[in-house]
Amino acid sequence: MTQQPTEQPTQRSPERPLTDTATAGPSAGPRRRWSALDVWTTVGPLAVFIALFVLVVSLRPAFLGGGGLAIVATQATAILLVALGQGMVLHVGSIDLSNAANALFCAIVLAQALGSFGGGAIVLVLVIGTVIGVLNGVLVAFFQVPSFALTLGTLGILQAAGLIVSDRTTVYAEDTSLLTPMFGTAMAGLATAFWIGVVLAVALWAMLRFTVPGQSLTAVGLNETGALFSGVRTRAAKISAFAISGLLASIAGIMIIAQAGSASSTGLGSDLLLPGITAAIVGGTAITGGITNPVNIVFGALTVTLIPIGAAALGMPSEAQSLVYGLVIIVAVALTISRRRVGIVK
């Protein structure tokens, strides 16, 4: 009934010093290498974007010469800003369905106010966007309503507000000179506005990685109860995530005016919601919360923008483009989602 081999270690085991874990037993060894998975989690979104871009360019070389990347960057700017905000809300495990409507509402207000208030209008819009975000956050945190349903409601209200403020027509900003440098100037061939988005992404990344509030956001996303029992201000964390989402939405609204000089309820920026969420997820954000890399959202936004542009540049039949869009998005996400919590994918 007893086995031979098992008795052997008994002789020496009790004498083995307690700290001797490196030689035997379930020890990972204190210094772990980066696994291939970790590397892919970090560079996946970039790699997917580059692969798609190279594919388009190799089939249609003129796309590169014609400033294809610049076009993609310009068109990705608003999506990127909305996606960054969405990423922060997803990071705490919630969702903000109203942030795209918030962006458009801000754009409409800005178009109305820019002529009379100039720079003041921009500040006004930043405040409005943030306040809307804070309101969302407060309702979610204090009334304990699911963010999905709540922000769906806010979305409806903001849409109606946009129609009322714009008087159901297109509002043309009287003087956009303040904003022309956004898309009028470029760095490394890409519009300044896009670089602003990149800088914000890096700032958010640094916030999440190196600061105490950032750590709180992550803790709330990973395990809100655990965070609460560690004295983390979980409500404040949620409210700040929604506030950031609102702030970034208002910046997206500003970029819409910078790009189009006008705004209307059905015009530019009226359909940022799904691309924004998609960009965040293609950028490796986990919808379950706690895993977000804002820098990768930049590549997520570029990828989401590139797919329809690339399809058009390749001259794909228009009836098939929607099919292609759907499939490529699925493949891109299959390649980039965090596999850290594989097994429970919902």
């Binding site: 249609r60 003129a62 796309f63 010469g65 014609g66 400033g67 294809g68 076009i71 993609v72 310009t74 068109q75 608003a78 999506i79 129609l163 714009s166 159901r168 027509t169 297109t170 043309y172 790009q259 189009a260 000089g261 006008s262 705004a263 209307s264 309820s265 059905t266 015009g267 530019l268 920026g269 009226s270 359909d271 940022l272 691309p275 923008t305 329809p308 542009i309 690339g310 399809a311 058009a312 540049a313 001259g315 228009s318 009836e319 483009q321 929607s322």
Partner: protein, 355 residues
């Protein structure tokens, strides 16, 4: 006519004429499944075939963002572009015009643009803006509805997307026409977003809101009237209500063909005509056959003729659908501004009645 002012090389003609093989005709439509949009695509392709120039279709999928991105992507392909775009929202126009101008292409905009953006302020690259008068459409069908009711009764209206100028002008024309009929009461105008499904459910709700009161239904276009007529059929009221709308889509032609059809008024214009006229105008500018700078303003901000269709003469218009190619031939022969049944009739921007 001005059609053959070949190589006039006027003052604004900053660019050399472009050869057919360096050119690509691009038609940008809001979606590919609305029958009107499908007709636009058909017209663009037929014209391209006739002219021997490559055609690309941009499907905006209802999104300004997609529209602008895809147009820019095509501009980035390298070839020179002659573009006809049915803008998703009027605010897209400046961005598209600027992009085309930068790429040295030529653009004609259909249906939507801001009133303040005039082609002659931009230059030759923004060749023209074209549309059918919305006010006229609304007046025409409004009058037909009121007449069919004998100047007495209750009507409801279905508008398109809230902030669409096309819908707004048509509604304004409709309301204006009703002023002449004091005994016609406009119960309500609701938006159904150009969507047949929403046309159905909004009509359904309004019919129950005003039980046995609705005598007539006006819709800003035929997609919504398809929903409205079905709602009436479902409610068993189809033959008790009069319908009018804009576009004379083939399904509506079929309904009008039935004996005692309750469809009492329509307007006729076609997507393929709009697309071909717009694209051909851009093509002429690109190839240097016309010099936009020398054109009169009515040819650069244009209103085309829209036919008021009655239950007695609607058959006259079905002939155009039968042979698109033959119509394209007459277009090339007569030029964009003089082709039946939609010659140029006036200059924009369109004024709302009473203003």
């Amino acid at each position: 006519s001005t059609t053959t002012g070949a190589g006039a090389g006027g003052t604004g003609g900053s660019q050399a004429p472009i050869a057919n093989e360096d050119l690509v005709l691009v038609a940008s439509v809001i979606n590919t499944t609305n029958p009107y949009m499908a007709s636009m695509i058909e017209g663009a392709q037929a014209l391209g075939e006739k002219l021997g120039v490559e055609v690309q279709i941009v499907d905006s999928a209802g999104s300004s963002q997609t529209e602008i991105s895809k147009i820019q992507a095509i501009l980035a392909q390298g070839k020179k572009v002659a573009l006809m775009v049915n803008t998703v929202a009027s605010s897209d126009a400046p961005t598209i015009v600027n992009a085309v101008k930068q790429a040295g292409g030529y653009v004609v905009i259909w249906w939507n643009k801001p009133d303040s953006l005039e082609p002659w302020d931009v230059g030759n690259n923004f060749v023209a803006f074209q549309k059918y008068s919305g006010v006229e459409s609304g007046q025409c069908t409004g009058r037909a509805l009121a007449e069919s009711l004998g100047g007495k009764g209750n009507v409801i209206g279905l508008a398109g997307v809230e902030d669409s100028t096309t819908s707004q002008t048509r509604v304004a024309g409709f309301e204006d026409a009703l002023k002449a009929y004091p005994d016609i009461k406009l119960l309500e105008v609701q938006s159904a977003n150009w969507d047949p499904q929403q046309g159905l459910s909004v009509t359904q709700s309004l019919l129950t809101k005003y039980p046995n009161q609705v005598n007539g239904i006006w819709a800003a276009d035929d997609a919504m009237i398809i929903g409205a007529t079905n709602a009436a059929k479902n409610a068993g009221l189809y033959n008790d209500i009069k319908f009018v709308s804009d576009g004379l889509y083939p399904p509506v032609v079929d309904m009008m063909s039935e004996p005692n059809s309750p469809i009492v008024g329509e307007t006729f214009h076609r997507g393929f005509m709009a697309a071909a006229i717009g694209l051909y105008t851009a093509y002429l500018a690109a190839t240097g056959e016309i010099d936009p700078a020398t054109l009169p303003e009515e040819k650069r901000d244009s209103l085309f003729k829209l036919a008021c269709v009655t239950p007695t003469d609607f058959q006259d218009y079905t002939k155009w659908d039968g042979d698109v190619d033959a119509w394209i031939d007459t277009l090339i022969e007569n030029g964009p501004w003089d082709t039946e049944p939609t010659p140029l009739v006036g200059q924009g921007p369109e004024k709302l009645p009473g203003t």
